[in-house]
Symmetry: C2
Subunit: 394 residues, 2 copies
Amino acid sequence: MNCVLRDSMGLLVCYIILFSGLVVLPQGGLGARMNSASKEGGFHPSTTNSSLTQEVEVQKQAPRAPFKLGPKIHNWDQQRAAWLAKYPHKRLTPQGRPNMILVTSSPPEPCPAATGDHFLLKSIKNKMDYCRLHMIEIYYNMAIMEMDDFWIKLPIIRKLMVSHPEAEWIWWMDSDAIFTDMTFDFPVEKYEGRNLVVHGWDKAVYEDKAWVGLNAGIFLLRNCQWSLDLLDMWAPLGEKYGNHKNEVGDFLSKELLGRPNFEVDDQAALVWVLYSKPELRPHVFLENSYHLHGWWVDLTAHFDEMITKYHPGDGGSKWPFITHFVGCKFCAGKYNSSSLERCYYEVERAFNLADNQVLKPYGYQHESLSSVDVKKVSDEVTHPLERLGIRLTD
Amino acid sequence: MNCVLRDSMGLLVCYIILFSGLVVLPQGGLGARMNSASKEGGFHPSTTNSSLTQEVEVQKQAPRAPFKLGPKIHNWDQQRAAWLAKYPHKRLTPQGRPNMILVTSSPPEPCPAATGDHFLLKSIKNKMDYCRLHMIEIYYNMAIMEMDDFWIKLPIIRKLMVSHPEAEWIWWMDSDAIFTDMTFDFPVEKYEGRNLVVHGWDKAVYEDKAWVGLNAGIFLLRNCQWSLDLLDMWAPLGEKYGNHKNEVGDFLSKELLGRPNFEVDDQAALVWVLYSKPELRPHVFLENSYHLHGWWVDLTAHFDEMITKYHPGDGGSKWPFITHFVGCKFCAGKYNSSSLERCYYEVERAFNLADNQVLKPYGYQHESLSSVDVKKVSDEVTHPLERLGIRLTD
């Protein structure tokens, strides 16, 4: 037991002390109570119950502070601005775009599923291709640094932010998400003044508290104080130590629309943080005008029709930017709504849909979306640069 | 049968027509005969044998030209210079270094060996890390475009050259090679006037004709006419069609020192081309002052001692630049001189040796060289940019 205690009414109360105040779980139906808390982020249950277990008694006597990703950073915007003033040429890429780092992760040990690692390999190649074409740095994590499972992204994002002041955006992307439109550019200009961009819907998150009101498998965080503060709010809900994960999970399953009951996941926690801290909203862009995340079950059946009717560039319903294999768990070898075989089949098709866009300039295409084999579609020429506007006579 | 015919003396003669003339296999012991050939690269056996099989008779009537990677390009240096004149800012990276593309490859289907794909995943992460740290583009190939097996590198390198005029060097690296010194920079200045850089020894290649006189698993080719011409000379020895591969392999096993007898491989063919075409030598740098390729069997046993005595930066015997797991075939699941288990154990150690250099700025290290787990070695700080020379007061 850590920050979860039963009060004198026998109700579950979990206090999570955040950087600038207090988020109290639960609210409403679970009988939340607002408590004051020190700015140091201490743990201060207001009442205790004589029926507490011995373990909890010990913890009560020496309560541990909530989990932190690191020491509180207060002036990151100023630090970063000073750094950029010193290295102004690092503010933008040579193409005049803000620097971005895409980060993804997979386990340091072999996948339990037989061909899980092979699909991870295709997944990382897909991301390498997209990032090369769009001048985005890519960081591939295989280390469990602080938090693990769903939560591994948080410490890595923070470390990348503070170690790479040149990066304006850190872009998290789950290993089970595949770029399917290699031409679509993340529209940075659209997000002026926003610090978090994630696929979602305002009503679903801010009114319905829907677990799938946003998808936390793919999101971008601006490298700024606001984002460090968000991470500081978000991380304690899935803290590294302690066994409150199941209890917070129980709570969020009751509070959020459509959440099955399991230990707290980063997505439910993010929905909860955004819902319960309205002051964050002006800096959040819940995007749904294109598929920053598109659920594979809705998309893959249309791939063949799409190819005959449309072309990449739309990013949305005509040609999805990112196809996300949510529920497949192709590395773990478990599956949710679909069989693993169907997942693999569709991941291969999504990969090849993207790979065709990568191979075209080299004169090749996959024989079909489900084939690993490629065929030549254009011959090499003696003046390859003519298409780039260079004409010479021999 | 393709370019291999038995002449009237019953001797094996293989003619391979090259861009600027003729390489005749075999020479010496196998009773080679020099033949003239048209500049069009046609196939012109001077004699035939009445015992030829029907298949060969058919081929004789309609002899096929030797395999080509593509149409002959004559003025690549001029085309590329014109392109660079149009886009002068693309000549160098923002760091003032020549643009380079590192290319590696793995099969489009899952590895036969159980954890082969997992080690391919670590191998590509290792290369991504090195390339990010050194501002090198990376291209990961999974398509079998023209030639396969050992030979897959040749068509890919050519395609990258002609599609990426901004790249001064194309760097091939086998999937079983691991960067073990993440700080060592490819010393471009050293290779002024050289177009091929490969680990090897002049005497071993040019005098001894040793199969291991160079290692073709890792090499760099300058993006220039000379390199396209080299590829045009090299590729026909392992041509896509025809079954001369075994016969050329037989020949090279007899000609080259220490080559086991198997179908022609790219390394034996390169040794043979460099040996038999002395005019190429001034443009070749056979490098051995650091480990552009270091054989793992010679190196991995010293990793622990190395860590206590030295630090990365040497690239050579103190701390190898690249550790190459030649003979392991960890994807195919076969092994040569070593057991697959020993290979995996040492690949993991080599990966972690490099990964420690990547993780250090984020405050982590592997618990040991053979452990996938990491431990914290430095705490995060509130002023992370102080180490980059930015000091602010709160």
